[in-house]
Amino acid sequence: MAEALLQAEGLVKHYPAGRSGLGRGRAVVRAVDGVSFEILPGETFGIVGESGCGKSTLGRLLLRFEPPTAGRVLYEGRDVCGFDARRLKAFRREAQIIYQDPYSSLNPRRRVGELIAEPLEIHGIGGPAERRERVAALLGEVGLRPEHARRFPHEFSGGQRQRIVIARALALQPRFIVADEPVSALDVSIQAQVINLLRELQERFRLTYAFISHDLGLVEYLADRVGVMYLGRLVEVAPCAAICADPLHPYTEALWSAAPMPDPAARRRRILLAGDVPSPIRPPPGCAFHPRCREAFDRCREEAPLLREVAPGRRVACHNR
């Protein structure tokens, strides 16, 4: 296996959740609860799961937007929380994020050209003239025109704004990009364009993506490997093709059976899950999925299964597999 670009080791993030019902101790939301995986250079690692499962928090931890409660994120083998100011600044150059909402991630009072040039200014790259040229080139890369630099964000559609966000993320020639639901705020017709743009850019600039999404179709299309999250934990990590053809974890199975099929004539067995996702403040003991799992047995209620390798490159957290 190639050397990982980014590695998560037992990542945990708890948020205080106000007062607990009984008033003793502080309740915490276990947004991310012990997650380990690695992202290889040049690949797209898909992170899927329903809303509230901790996908976005995980993305924020990977980029050191906030410190983890426990565990480590290793970038090129070094703990990102141990970076000094200089090394952190370099990390901020190499690792970028594309946000979910292109409407709120751009300052409404600044011109597009200024917004895209801002990362260059922050990192002291080039003079004003060089930056202008670079902005024009970046706008071209993402399918916009150089004269768009003079406009304001509100003059653009959602898809175009997301292209602006992508151009800003590319400005520093990053190696690693977390795409946090980059198209879920966009029209379906626009989604494909932006997704294809991301794919093209990956090839051209040899980018590594962590692609966070709840849209399995997109993940199948884009990801090389996939991690499935449920209630703050990874339940399965596998190559995308393998997981699509043969999901191992009962949750993955149910998730994939719920994905709409492009062919309306195709019928398949739909696995319906009973109940709701439990609260991440008080997750069930043992395997977090056991109350909804049709295969649960006694052990699942007591002992949390660990993520273990069941086939080359395939890891699953289930006592039954």
């Binding site: 937007f65 901020r92 150059r93 991630s105 409404p108 801002e118 990362p119 922050i122 509100h154």
Partner: protein
């Protein structure tokens, strides 16, 4: 700038346009009036004291026979300056304190805002009297007093905007790119916190003129023989029954200027506040 586009809406709002007109009028008088004023505002004429309005003295004369029209015209300059300078004295420190308190939070926030609360606890005019009593009554000290009194208002408004803005994704995005506090505060937070401040500062000019006039009236502001409107009002008070015009004209001038600032401020609020605009 898109942020200035709504200003075109000011012309459509009748009251804001009226406010702008009134201010423009007083400003014009302040700039060019002294050149065309019919008399020297300081020249006394004991024989013509308390004369009613006439062709020679359209606003009449005061207790020393000075031409009231000329004095009101010269006073316009003082009042406009009072508005601008006192608002600046509260605007800049207030905005800075609010930015720092809101953005950094924690202890700094507590220290700054408790100090602001202490200033706010005094009635405005009482605090202004207190400050002028310490500094001594004069026009510049009046401006300082009126300015200091309103610092907490700006600090509070800015702080509350900043609290909301610092959670905005586009602000956090700059931190994610590695941008420092200065860049975030002054290039991303401040410009978006300005609209409510612009409105408040406009309304504040009216209040400042009024407060300064009140201090002048109480003898703690501008000192005679300066043609400050509050001082003139105070002088006229004694003759209210025999020569009401002595107090009426400077009073009317104050009224026009304050009304202008208030109408403009309200109009600005309507066009700059998107939540009100939707209504």
């Amino acid at each position: 700038m898109p942020s200035w586009e709504p200003l075109a809406g000011l012309w459509r709002s009748r009251s804001a346009a009226l406010g702008l007109g009134l201010i423009a009028f007083v400003l014009g008088v302040a700039l060019f009036g002294p050149a065309v004023a019919p008399h020297d505002p300081f020249r006394t004429a004991p024989l013509e004291r308390l004369a009613a309005p006439s062709a020679a003295h359209p606003f009449g004369t005061d207790s020393l026979g000075r031409d009231i029209l000329s004095r009101v015209i010269h006073g316009a300059r003082i009042s406009i300056l009072i508005g601008l300078i006192s608002v600046s004295i509260s605007l800049f420190p207030g905005t800075l304190l609010g930015l720092l308190a809101g953005y950094f939070g924690g202890r700094l926030d507590s220290v700054i805002m408790r100090a602001m609360d202490m200033l706010l606890a005094f009635p405005a005019i009482l605090l202004a009297i207190f400050i002028t009593a310490i500094l001594g009554p004069s026009l510049p000290n009046t401006m300082i007093a009126v300015g200091v009194v309103y610092i907490p208002h700006y600090a509070r408004i800015v702080r509350s905007s900043v609290l909301a803005l610092k959670e905005q994704l586009f602000v956090q995005a700059i931190a994610h790119l590695g941008g420092g506090h200065g860049r975030i505060l002054f290039r991303h937070v401040l410009p978006n916190a300005l609209p409510p401040i612009i409105v408040y500062a406009t309304l504040g000019m009216g209040t400042a003129v009024l407060q300064a006039a009140a201090l002048g009236f109480l003898g703690l502001g501008a000192q005679p023989p300066q043609p400050e409107w509050g001082v003139m009002l105070s002088e006229g008070r004694q003759y209210l029954q025999i020569a009401p015009h002595v107090a009426a004209f400077p009073g009317g001038a104050i009224f026009i200027l304050v009304l202008g600032f208030n109408l403009l401020g309200d109009g600005l609020r309507d066009v700059l506040d998107p939540t009100l605009r939707a209504l």
